[in-house]
Every structure is written in structure tokens, then in C-alpha cells.
């Protein structure tokens, strides 16, 4: 917890291992529980949980490793997901519903529908994606407590 300018912000960070489908979703589950424990409303909790889970799954499916960071105050929740991985070559294309670069093995698990990034955009108030090919991707999602 950080207190700055009389404002209290909660901060948590979780590691995500690329390719580990047994643990995939653990970080998002913890984010959801933390938000419930601090009394966040069910609607914002659900939006954050869905978007965070999609972002975490992207790390597991596409990257080598990454982190999920939660920052929360009374006005907003911010989820920052950073990874070390192949990066996104064409972000606009990646945002197209139905577009996916997931391999067949992942599609057999029920992923790779190509709705991850569109879901993240629909759930958040603001979505910022930065990516460098061959290095990795950072996704930042802001959820206003409307």
C-alpha cells in the first residue's frame, strides 16, 4: 500500500509463467479476490477480472513470462500486464475480433478465439498497448469506478 498526497493506492504484482496452463488464471483470481475484499462493486470487479484474465492468458499462450500488476484507489483500478515474448507485429490486426495467432494445441484447450483483445477493450475505460517485436508487450488497462 502506498500513501502519496493523502491518497492511498493499493499495489500488488504477480508473476506469470509462459506455457503454464495449470497455473494460468491464478493471478487474475487473486486480483478478483483482492478487489472483493476491499469492497469494490461487483460490476467493476467483473470487468477487471475478465480483462485481467484475458491479458494473463495472452502471456501464458504467447510469451515466455510476464507480470500482472494491480493498482487500485477509490476512483480507479489499473491493471498492467508486461511480458517478455515475441511482441505483437500489427496491433490493429490483433484487435480485430476473430484474429488469433494461437497455435492448434492452444485452440484445442478452448483459446485462440481471437476475442481476447476486443474483450479487454470492451471491459476497460482505457486500453493502452505497447509492443516491440522480439522483445515483449505491455498492456495497461484503466477501469474507472463509475
Amino acid at each position: 500500500m502506498v500513501v502519496e498526497n493523502n491518497k492511498t493506492t493499493l499495489h500488488y504484482k504477480f508473476d506469470v509463467q509462459g506455457g503454464d496452463f495449470t497455473k494460468a488464471g491464478d493471478a487474475s483470481s487473486r486480483v478478483k479476490k483482492i478487489l472483493q475484499q476491499i469492497g469494490a462493486g461487483p460490476e467493476i470487479v467483473r470487468r477487471v477480472a475478465i480483462a485481467c484474465y484475458e491479458a494473463e492468458m495472452n502471456v501464458v499462450i504467447h510469451a515466455h513470462r510476464g507480470t500482472v500488476a494491480l493498482d487500485a484507489d477509490l476512483a480507479r483500478v489499473t491493471i498492467t500486464v508486461e511480458d517478455a515474448g515475441p511482441g505483437i507485429e500489427d496491433i490493429d490486426q490483433a484487435m480485430t475480433p476473430g484474429f488469433s495467432t494461437a497455435p492448434d494445441s492452444v485452440r484445442e484447450m478452448g483459446f485462440g478465439a481471437g476475442m481476447g483483445l476486443p474483450n479487454m477493450k470492451n471491459c476497460s475505460s482505457e486500453l493502452i498497448i505497447e509492443s516491440q517485436k522480439g522483445v515483449g508487450t505491455t498492456v495497461r488497462m484503466i477501469f474507472d469506478n463509475a
Binding site: S28, S29, R46, R47, I50, G110, A113, N122
Partner: protein, 139 residues
């Protein structure tokens, strides 16, 4: 099938209970049976988890043929009440325990996905959102 359905197996304004859903599907509850009196007002039949996250209403029942633990995580994120595994596909013990810790009811149905969905749809159980209303479905 439709004409013989008794009134007790038709959805009311509260939807159907998980017990009624299990009966309609000739199913078996394998997890959290004590929570089977809960009402459910909508359902989704789908094997694509991101589609489930995009279109399924919170509190719904999910019908699927996938039995991996990510189905449980998807249900957790959406606050779903139950999952029906079709064609009697049984998830492993670790997955069942995860569902148990999340208070999710798990039902096995012997029918395939199409028929399972059809049985519930015919009983009047509601649907989830169409593609153009995906955002509303997440709330």
C-alpha cells in the same frame, strides 16, 4: 419431447433451478450439490473461452465439452453458477476441487451439446447476448 414437458420443468420468471436443469438433462451433479436449488436465468453453450467471456451473462450456466481447469477459471471470472459437461465428460479431480473451492455446481449430461442446449432452450431458459451487444454481456 416438447409436448410432454410438465409444467414443473418449464422456466418461470426466475428461470430454472440447477436441480431442474440436471433433471432435464438426465444429468448427475458431481460437485456442490447443496447449491443446486439456485435459480439460473440464462445459459450459454460454447467451447471457446474468449467467446464465453464476451457473450455470456454473469450468473448463467455454461454448457461445454471442454473439461480443463481454464473452464473453471472462465466461470469464476464471470460469476457463473454452474457448468454442464456434455457427453458425460468428466473433469479430473484437481479441476473438480477447484470448482468446489469456488462454489461452482458441476453437472454431467449424457447428451451432446446440441441436444443439451435444446432441452434447456425448449424449457424456456433464457439466452445470452448476440455479437453486437458483447459489451453489455460482460456486466
Amino acid at each position: 419431447m416438447q409436448s410432454n414437458m410438465s409444467a414443473e420443468m418449464r422456466a418461470t420468471e426466475n428461470g430454472l433451478t440447477l436441480k431442474q436443469i440436471c433433471k432435464l438433462l438426465d444429468g448427475e451433479i458431481i460437485c456442490r450439490e447443496e447449491l443446486a436449488d439456485q435459480d439460473v436465468q440464462s445459459a450459454c453453450g460454447c467451447d471457446l473461452m474468449s467467446d464465453v467471456l464476451a457473450f455470456t451473462k454473469p450468473g448463467s450456466v455454461l454448457l461445454t465439452g471442454l473439461t480443463n481447469s481454464q473452464v473453471i477459471r472462465t466461470a469464476e471470472m464471470l460469476d457463473l453458477k454452474a457448468i454442464v459437461f456434455v457427453r458425460s465428460k468428466r473433469p479430473d479431480e484437481r479441476t473438480i476441487k477447484m470448482a468446489e473451492s469456488l462454489q461452482l455446481v458441476l453437472i454431467l449430461s449424457p447428451y451432446p451439446l446440441y441436444e443439451s442446449c435444446g432441452r434447456l432452450y425448449t424449457a424456456g431458459l433464457g439466452c445470452c447476448r448476440k455479437a453486437e451487444n458483447a459489451r453489455a454481456a460482460t456486466l
